[in-house]
Amino acid sequence: MKPPRFTYFDPHTLPEALDLLQAHGTDAKVLAGGQSLVPMLNMRLARPAVLVDVNRLPGLAYIRDAGTYLAIGALTRHRQVEKSPLVAARCPLLSEAIRWVGHVQIRNRGTMGGSIAHADPGAELPAVVAALGGRIVLAGAGGDRREVTPDNFFLGWFMTSLQPGEMVVEVRVPTAPPHSGQAFVELARRSGDFALCGVAAHVELDDAGRVQDARMALIGVGPGPIVPEVAGVLAGERPGAAALAAAADRARAAAEPEDDVHATADYRRHLAGVLARRALEQALARAGGPAAAAGGAGA
């Protein structure tokens, strides 16, 4: 359970870090919080020849209100997101989801950029970005930046469209508009375990209280965040039991779970339906405000 040998660099500027990543290509891995990478090294599931430790890079830990989105620097620790009143106010989904990431010790070191770049299919943060249609900002050689959409970034099973020589520098998470509601629900065997299944849900109502948009992402039931199309069955009137059941059906149908030591595929698929419904009910109740919540949407 000891890590293999590697060559270690701890650059002090972003250009230095990018030059190192460019120079070492696929031999190099970025070390940020280390909460996912170091276990893999300790278990020798990964043997990168080079580690580029980015923890000393200045100016990459921030949470900025950019109006329609929050710009979160890649080195922002989960703890900072968890404690942020700005995130709680402007993106409640992220504020709720971050509490499900590991345990407090993990959140003290783990970073936004690291979680996104690691792309664990069971991870909460990629699901938030996928559900809300956020953007991932990458920096490459020469400091060039490009923005990628979640479905172009998360390629499944810990793979992303990061090219050798690139690293995540910022994650953009859309802010919640008025008359919207969000919820993140998850089931794990023990507190802090990887999710058996989790659902991020976002709904928007029009001035008359009818659903105008609904978005969802599932974790733990496929190679990456699964984004079922649910807006179609929920749009229009305030959804009743039939519409919510149809949305749960969509979630179950979109899930691609596999059997493993923790749960059968059938059970995970079942959870996808249950949790999708629960997340939507909570999100709808929060979107509608006190009247809707009192109306028994089941939150």
Partner: protein, 167 residues
């Protein structure tokens, strides 16, 4: 793998050593510094036995998993381990005393990790409910006690460290 010279302050004492980059902070603390109070359980970040405090200039003491940190990353850092809890050789930290009084340990292997997790927890939650305590210790595993007496110990320590009765 060429060595690096690092300087780390642990429990107020500054140490300088040459280490391989792949040396884990948990092994640095135990083998290089001889502070064996920090224990190694899983080495993949789930058991919490290796928890130490990393003092952040803005956020104060943060509980971190020493098995998931390389010693070279702690160059220039200030850490506290369980050996740094007791105020002097004659007295225990209130958490240590409470664990003893409430039988919050049996074999004691997990205990240093729990104590270090609980120091910042109680700073943040001076009057915690049982639910908050259980959420706060979720990153630490105990195989002996079944946790009830750990929760009692935390309640007792909270009371003594200035919190209320956590109702």
């Amino acid at each position: 793998m060429s060595k690096r010279t690092i300087t780390v302050t642990v429990n107020g004492q500054t140490h300088t050593a040459d280490v391989e980059p792949r040396l884990l902070l948990s092994d640095f603390i135990r083998h290089t510094l001889g502070l064996t109070g920090t224990h190694v359980g899983c080495e993949h970040g789930v058991c919490g036995a290796c928890t130490v405090l990393w003092h952040d200039p803005e956020d104060g003491p943060l509980a971190v998993r020493a098995c998931l940190t390389f010693a070279v990353q702690a160059d220039g850092a200030e850490l506290t381990t369980v050996e740094g809890l007791a105020p002097d050789p004659e007295h225990l930290h209130p958490l240590q005393q409470a664990f003893m009084d409430e039988h919050g340990l049996q074999c004691g292997f997990c205990t240093p990790g729990f104590l270090m997790t609980l120091v910042p927890f109680l700073q943040e939650h001076p009057d915690p409910t049982d639910a908050e305590i259980r959420a706060g210790i979720a990153g630490n595993i105990c195989r002996c006690t079944g946790y009830q007496n750990i929760v009692k110990a935390v309640r007792k320590a909270a009371g003594q460290m200035g919190g209320g009765d956590g109702a």
